[in-house]
C-alpha cells in the first residue's frame, strides 16, 4: 500500500532498476547511442533521462486512472454524484455508464500509446501493480474522477519542458483529451 502510494505520487526515491531503458522515439535515439559509447563494460549504468521518468510517471498515473474508472463502474455509484437524487433513474444510469465506458476507452488508448514509447526489460515491466489505484480506495465517485482528470491534464502539461518533441506532443494531446472528459461526464449526469 505504502509503496503504491509512493509510486502513484511520483515521490518514490528508489524505484525499480533503471538500466536498459530507452524511449522508443527517433528523437531519443541519438542520445541513447551516445550514452552507450560512454559506458564502460562493467560501469555504473547512467541515470535515466528525465523523459524516461516523465513517461514512467505518466504510465503510472494513467494506470491508476483506469483502475479508478473500473472501480467506479463496478461500484455502481456512477449516478451518486452531482445530479438531483430523484432523477437518477435507469436512463440516467445508462447514459452515465456509456459516458464512463467511453472515457475509460480513451484512457486505455492513452496507456497503450505511452507504453509503446517505453521499452523495459520484462522483469521491470510492473512498476505499478494491477489494481494499485483501486486498493488505495481514494476515488469512489464521478466527481472525484473529474477532479482526477483535471489534475492529470495539468500534470502532463507541467511536464512538457525538456521532453523530446514527439513525446511532448503526445503528452499535450492526452492532456487535452483528459480535460474534455470533465464536461463530457458532467453532461451525462442525471437531470442534464
Amino acid at each position: 500500500m505504502g509503496a503504491d502510494d509512493e509510486l502513484l505520487s511520483g515521490l518514490v526515491a528508489t524505484g525499480p532498476a533503471r538500466r536498459a531503458l530507452l524511449i522508443a522515439s527517433m528523437a531519443a535515439l541519438p542520445a541513447f547511442l551516445t550514452a552507450c559509447r560512454g559506458v564502460q563494460a562493467l560501469g555504473t549504468p547512467p541515470p535515466p533521462p528525465a523523459d524516461v521518468d516523465a513517461l514512467r510517471s505518466a504510465i503510472e498515473h494513467e494506470t491508476a486512472l483506469i483502475a479508478s474508472y473500473a472501480a467506479v463502474i463496478a461500484s455502481g455509484k456512477s449516478v451518486a454524484t452531482g445530479g438531483p437524487a430523484n432523477s437518477a433513474g435507469a436512463a440516467g444510469r445508462g447514459r452515465m455508464g456509456a459516458a464512463l465506458a467511453a472515457v475509460l476507452a480513451d484512457h486505455r488508448q492513452h496507456l497503450a500509446q505511452l507504453r509503446s514509447r517505453l521499452i523495459e526489460p520484462a522483469a521491470h515491466g510492473s512498476a505499478t501493480p494491477a489494481g494499485a489505484a483501486s486498493r488505495r480506495g481514494v476515488i469512489l465517485t464521478v466527481a472525484q474522477l473529474e477532479q482526477a482528470e483535471l489534475t492529470a491534464s495539468d500534470r502532463l502539461i507541467a511536464q512538457l519542458a525538456g521532453l523530446p518533441p514527439t513525446l511532448a506532443q503526445l503528452f499535450a494531446s492526452i492532456a487535452a483529451s483528459e480535460a474534455t472528459h470533465v464536461p463530457y461526464l458532467q453532461a451525462a449526469r442525471p437531470g442534464r
Partner: protein
C-alpha cells in the same frame, strides 16, 4: 488560457522553425474565424448553440491577435487572412454546422501541436494550452470525446 502579454525584456528569437509554427497556427486561427461565421449562420437564430458559436469565435479572434503579436515581436510579418476559405463540405444544416465546428477545432489543435514540438518552453506551454482549449470547444460540438485531439492517426504507434 492564453496570456495576453507576450512581452519580454529582450526581443525573442524568431528562428525559422518558430516563425513557421506560429504562422501555421495563425493560418489555422484565421481559417477558423472564417469558418465560425459559417457555423453561426447555419445554427438556429438566437439559440444557445449560436451563442456558443459566437463565444468560440471570439476566443479564436483573441488567439489570432495573440499569435500575430508573437510573430511581430519576432521580427516577422503575420500572414494575412484570405478573403475566403474552402470548406470541407457543404454546410446547409445545423448538424453540418456542428460537424464543421468540430473539424475547425481539430485543425486548430493540430496546428498548435507544432508549437508543442518547439524547444521554447513558453511556446510549448502555449501550444499545449491551446490544444486543450480547442479540444474543450470541440467536445460539445462533436458530442463525444477523442483520445488524441490534434494528433494525426498516422503519428500514433501501433
Amino acid at each position: 488560457m492564453t496570456s495576453a502579454s507576450g512581452s519580454t525584456s529582450s526581443r525573442p528569437a524568431g528562428t525559422p522553425p518558430v516563425i513557421a509554427a506560429l504562422q501555421s497556427a495563425l493560418a489555422a486561427e484565421l481559417a477558423t474565424c472564417y469558418g465560425y461565421g459559417i457555423v453561426g449562420a447555419r445554427l438556429p437564430q438566437g439559440s444557445a448553440e449560436q451563442a456558443a458559436a459566437s463565444t468560440d469565435w471570439v476566443a479564436h479572434m483573441r488567439a489570432r491577435d495573440h499569435l500575430s503579436a508573437l510573430i511581430t515581436a519576432r521580427g516577422a510579418t503575420p500572414t494575412p487572412a484570405a478573403v475566403a476559405y474552402e470548406l470541407p463540405g457543404p454546410v446547409r444544416t445545423p448538424a453540418a454546422a456542428r460537424a464543421l465546428a468540430a473539424t475547425l477545432e481539430d485543425r486548430v489543435a493540430q496546428a498548435y501541436l507544432a508549437l508543442v514540438a518547439l524547444p521554447d518552453s513558453s511556446l510549448r506551454r502555449l501550444g499545449a494550452e491551446q490544444v486543450r482549449a480547442a479540444a474543450l470547444r470541440a467536445q460539445p460540438w462533436r458530442g463525444s470525446v477523442q483520445a488524441f485531439p490534434g494528433l494525426p492517426p498516422a503519428s500514433l504507434h501501433g
